[in-house]
Symmetry: C2
Subunit: 336 residues, 2 copies
């Protein structure tokens, strides 16, 4: 039931959770989380978590609490990301840092991380807490690498994939993995060896490839979607001198005009690159009409296909079909 | 041996750990941690952790790795604190945020937290991971409360104690608690019931009261010590409009001149309160020569005494004597 109408059911579970548990502890932090929740989002991570549990053990009852933790960890990373990116808007709403300030946001993110870990270490056996703590350390490592790569137009595809693997794919992979592990823990001997179970590995590989495709698509949308569709100004990545696959693909094409405009943008003072800046507008327009767009779409399709292939090692079921359907949605570029 | 020359031995263990483990993963983060370690500090938290293990089970071998985790968690909170406080100096050195920027510091702190949690959930049985995750959530909650209390000259003693209990005493209490729990886990059945063991409760109470005394003393030193002794400008708390016990005690004394100067300082524009500002200097001088100093020292002595009383429930040993000796050092105000 949770699966058949996943979006609203998952959101209401997470919301109930925040209302009942988190707001007992600190109303301001709960309020910040609440406003991020009500701003929407697709709840892809808890959905993949729930579907992976069912894909691993068909009869497993849904564990909406574990799924909620996945969304809350995601929200905590977003709160810190917005401090790191100095973002003003998130999902079309004012970001936590722009409402409450960076200081509060750092602490609210820390609080949410530690609160979720308190609950997880209390209620879930290993390897679940270890998977999630390792995941968080990988995410931070990816974010540090991304920060260090700011403005580096020599960033290679491999370096880009390493960054997005850590900062994005790792969370999707872990959502799938802990879903499968939690389900298997109910029917078999718990322990760290569950990470090596073929179904767990397959679902983790699904999540990993899904996450890569998801982030590449997200980086493309930042370029080709409208401000309204994105809920924040288009071209944010370029404005922040974040080098993503469309830019790497454009530079690989050895189009001299494109190369000159990109270097001019990245070397221009921040003012010129600000929203509506002429240099920025020119670069966005050039990129949008270049072959980099179709090349980036091909990369999305490639990882979506890899995700589907990973599912081949899992017995067919309705949950597996739903996981597969999610990969097809990655190749659509109409933002709802 | 680790106990008899605790300072250098503990530091070298933590340093070795950072060199061997952390720098494998991200050299820049390891570098930031390294510079905080080499700036010194008294390693009180790992010492209390090691001594509590020996106080609980005399024959227990020291676990320098667990003790290192305690210091690394402390360092991670300091890295985030400096972002929250916008601090430029820490232990007489440039703070992480002033060297690498707030963005890097947020991520470096997150990385360190999650890395330590990954290790702890891998290698230590419950209730240790849960104690440490709960602790972290309490620390963040205390920091949020402190941030919200900024500039609030009506802050009560009870509210102040609640804040420092969460932001400082909780960490000392947990260092003592997990030390004792880890030692008992070697000689008795592991499980969450160990938190209720009378020796664990006594050592936790020791750590809690030690932590309160430690923070009150720290807040007093910020007022009465010199810049050189502190490794940062004296009066930082007043400059940041942080209301601490000396200020609360001064306001309780109903000295009208003092009240007027404090309100003038807190209402003055930030410039006037900046280092060397006349209003700030006047307030510091007034507070230093007021009865608030001796009253605050009495509060330190009270909690140091409570810490010693908690030790009464633990069988006498050399470790217990060392824990007791640490509480006496709290009543000394010569910063080495």
């Amino acid at each position: 039931m949770l699966i058949s109408s996943p979006r609203s059911a998952i959101r209401s579970v997470v919301e109930q959770f925040v209302r009942e548990e988190l707001s007992q502890e600190d109303a301001q932090i709960a309020g910040a989380v609440w406003s991020m929740l009500s701003a929407g989002g697709k709840e892809l991570r808890p959905r993949i978590n729930l579907l992976s549990a069912q894909a691993a053990v068909a009869a497993t009852p849904p564990d909406p609490v574990l799924a909620s933790y996945m969304e809350l960890i995601h929200i905590a990373t977003l709160i810190h990301d917005d401090v790191v990116d100095n973002a003003g808007l998130r999902r079309g709403q004012h970001s936590t840092n722009s409402v409450h300030g960076n200081r509060f946001s750092v602490l609210a993110g820390d609080y949410l991380f530690s609160w979720v870990f308190k609950k997880i270490t209390q209620d879930y056996a290993n390897p679940i807490p270890t998977i999630l703590a390792s995941m968080l350390s990988e995410i931070c490592n990816g974010e540090v690498k991304q920060l260090r790569a700011t403005g580096n137009l020599s960033l290679s595809r491999a370096e880009y994939l390493d960054i997005i693997g850590k900062k994005t794919a790792e969370l999707f992979a872990s959502c799938a993995e802990v879903g499968a592990v939690a389900a298997l823990q109910r029917v078999t001997r718990p322990g760290p060896q569950l990470r090596d179970h073929p179904v767990v590995r397959a679902l983790r590989a699904y999540g990993w490839n899904f996450g890569l495709a998801f982030q590449i698509r997200d980086d493309l949308l930042d370029l080709i979607a409208s401000d309204a569709e994105l809920g924040k100004p288009a071209g944010s990545d370029l404005r922040e001198r974040k080098v993503t696959l469309p830019v790497i693909a454009a530079l690989e094409a050895e189009d001299e005009t494109m190369r000159v405009s990109l270097y001019r943008l990245f070397e221009s003072p921040p003012d010129a690159a600000a929203a509506g800046g002429q240099v920025l507008r020119t670069v966005i327009e050039r990129l949008r009409t270049s072959a980099a767009v179709s090349q980036t779409k091909r990369a999305v399709d490639f990882y979506a296909q890899q995700a589907r292939q990973a599912l081949a090692a899992v017995s067919p079921s309705r949950a597996v079909a739903e996981l597969e359907a999610l990969t097809h949605s990655l190749s659509e570029y109409q933002v709802a």
